[in-house]
Amino acid sequence: MVRYPNVIASLIAVFGFCGLAAAARAAPVAGAPAELKIGVVAFLSGPASGPFGIPSRNAAQLWIDKINSEGGIGGVKVVPVFTDEAGPADKVVTEFRRLALDEKVSAVMGYISSANCLAVPPVADELKVLTVLSDCGTDRVFEEGKHPYVFRTHAHTVIDGVGAARYVLSVNPKVKTIAGINQDYAWGRDSWEVFQRSIRKLKPDVQVVDALWPKIFAGEYSTEISKLLVNKPDVVFTSFWGGDLVTFSGQAKARGLLEETTVVVNNTGADIKDLAPGMLIGSRGPHGIVSPDMEKNPLRKQFIDLYRQKHGLAANNYIAHGAYHYLQALQGLRTAYEKAIKAAGRWPTPEQVAAAFKRLEFDTPSGRIAMAIGDGHQAVEPAGYAVIKFDPGLGVNTFADIRMFSARCVNPPDGVKSLDWIDRGFPGAQCP
């Protein structure tokens, strides 16, 4: 049975909305397509879907709706094509080709796994498809190659390790011994390498007493925690995320590891409501962590309001960093397109958009982002670190002792490889 009043009401709503949108939309420039199709890739299944993929997709969807309600990009409506990032590299690359050649998208944004961020750029260059990497960590992308069609609108993972080292030293300047427990895969290795090299450069008498490498998604860390309790390092560094981070945090808290040493996590790869108070944590940029500057950012406020309306939020306003990163990608694309349209006077080619993207600066819910390194293809971000603290007023965990390390403090200068930069003692770093 069809209920007519409902149908009529929704028809009115739809037309009303279209009318509003049309009114807001500027007339498209010459050569503009009917719609701007963008491939949006994120983990929709598997262990990375909960902490990263799904929030990122949700954020991208509501931000695209917002952009469209403001008239789209250059007067053209943005249409996302969502796909799942899960699967081996051959599947991910096949999927990219499908987006480019079959769906004929104008740009692709996304990718959370570092392996995929390394596999996709050569294909993007081959097919001449503008591609914005959105949440992966590896610093190898632009340090080992040039990719004219590829941009990354968030900082690579070096900021997380350097930030962790600087924050640990600011909280506990007397650190003597450190240990690492990281998942046995590339990002775990990279994270540990950056952190231990940085802290030993900043304070040369720091000693590494242990480096543990449990299997990723092992879930059981009793043995590792026992060993950390035996060794009693001053600081334990971890790059765990998702279920592994929650499990480790729970087991470490229950067994008093947090009372014996300082545990520092280089990413908010799990909702902080599930993590043990007392741990130091970095947010892979200025996301989630609320600083006075950030509170004044209107885009951020808008994003949090939209997200709360659509998906609900805890009292601490926590949203996964992946979600902020995906918005950075969208804002970057939008700004680059608008700049290119203005410069070309008509709808731009991918090459013109890429030229506009290079060394671009744009506003996002994470503050102003600059494509400052990697020959203008790689963004820098400040590193935000804090202590997790239970807030009885809000009834949920929140951040305390927040510190922001400016982008110039935690990122290498343009053209310098990250590990070289650390080993040479951070030349050019400007820290408060």
Binding site: G50, I54, A218, S222, T223, G243, D244, R255, D274
Partner: protein, 298 residues
């Protein structure tokens, strides 16, 4: 010396967990001669249901004690619902088929259940650690241990003892042994073999779910936990000998100690410990430590 004690303690705790999660797999194989690739998913279902019950009814305060019973309840519910369903609807039709067909059947059930879990509970990590934290901790030699893993040791011992008693000391056990030894002869003796199979598979399913349920307070649950556990328990029971409860216990001890030693002495080898032990044992004793050599038919 102290190091050895710590390694042994951690190894024991890990071994208990390993035994608990692999007992069901080896029991099912022992009776039905089918390696149940959906074992990990039954584990996951037990874990998710147990965690949900705990979060809803025993999240804190005075109700915590209820949690341990709820975990058991969750496991039993999953086992007695999923067990007969899978056995009667699917497995029953392939007993006379080739072994690879049976494996593939359970593989396809595993794929389906993987998404059933995802559709029911979503993808966000679920962590019901109240039963874990409520037990508190104990200091042994200056190192804090949580009590909970030792509760698992007790449960593992209880499960092992119960299975052993039932199989060796009861009439039911005699029937089981008869069916295991010779199916056709058992049929002619008037044993209702199909019913024994249904029961055995259900027991295996309950055990799988039990392993999951009592793991839930220790681990955060995410999509894919089942697959991880399946491969681990494979290794454990292959070392001990497929179908042997005692073998699973020994396999669990070997793997538990090996991993614990690896973490302390060669942390770089953590990843390999389990597969390395498996390959090593199988090379020298293809049928596993307690496995029986099967007759080759002519």
């Amino acid at each position: 010396m102290r190091l050895l004690t710590v390694i042994a303690l951690d190894g024991l705790a890990y071994a208990s967990w390993l035994f608990l999660v692999s007992a069901g797999l080896t029991f099912t194989y022992g009776v039905l001669r089918v390696l149940n690739l959906a074992h990990g998913n039954l584990y996951a279902l037990g874990a998710y249901l147990g965690a949900t019950l705990v979060l809803r009814y025993a999240a804190g305060g005075s109700t915590v004690a209820l949690g341990y019973g709820l975990l058991l309840l969750g496991a039993v519910v999953i086992g007695i619902v999923a067990g007969p369903l899978i056995e009667r609807l699917f497995l029953r039709r392939v007993y006379d088929k080739d072994e690879e067909v049976q494996l593939l059947l359970t593989f396809s059930i595993s794929l389906i259940l993987e998404d059933v879990v995802k559709l029911t509970w979503g993808v966000s990590p679920i962590f019901a650690d109240a039963p874990y934290t409520a037990l508190g901790r104990v200091s042994l030699g200056g190192i804090n241990y949580a009590w909970y893993p030792f509760l698992l040791t007790a449960i593992a011992l209880a499960v092992g003892a119960l299975l052993w008693l039932v199989v060796t000391r009861t009439r039911l056990g005699k029937v089981l042994q008869a069916v295991i030894t010779d199916r056709e002869v058992s049929l002619t003796l008037g044993i209702n073999v199909p019913r024994v199979y249904t029961w055995a598979f259900t027991v295996g399913a309950v055990l799988a779910a039990l392993g999951g349920a009592y793991t839930a307070p220790m681990f955060s649950l995410v999509p894919g936990v089942g697959a991880e556990v399946l491969v681990t328990s494979f290794a454990v029971i292959a070392i001990g000998g497929l179908g042997s409860i005692g073998g699973a216990a020994l396999g669990a001890l070997i793997v538990g100690m090996a991993r614990s030693a690896a973490v302390y002495l060669f942390p770089e080898l953590d990843l390999f410990a389990i597969y390395f032990m498996m390959a090593l044992v199988l090379l020298f004793r293809p049928q596993g430590l307690f496995g029986e050599i099967e007759m080759r038919r002519i």
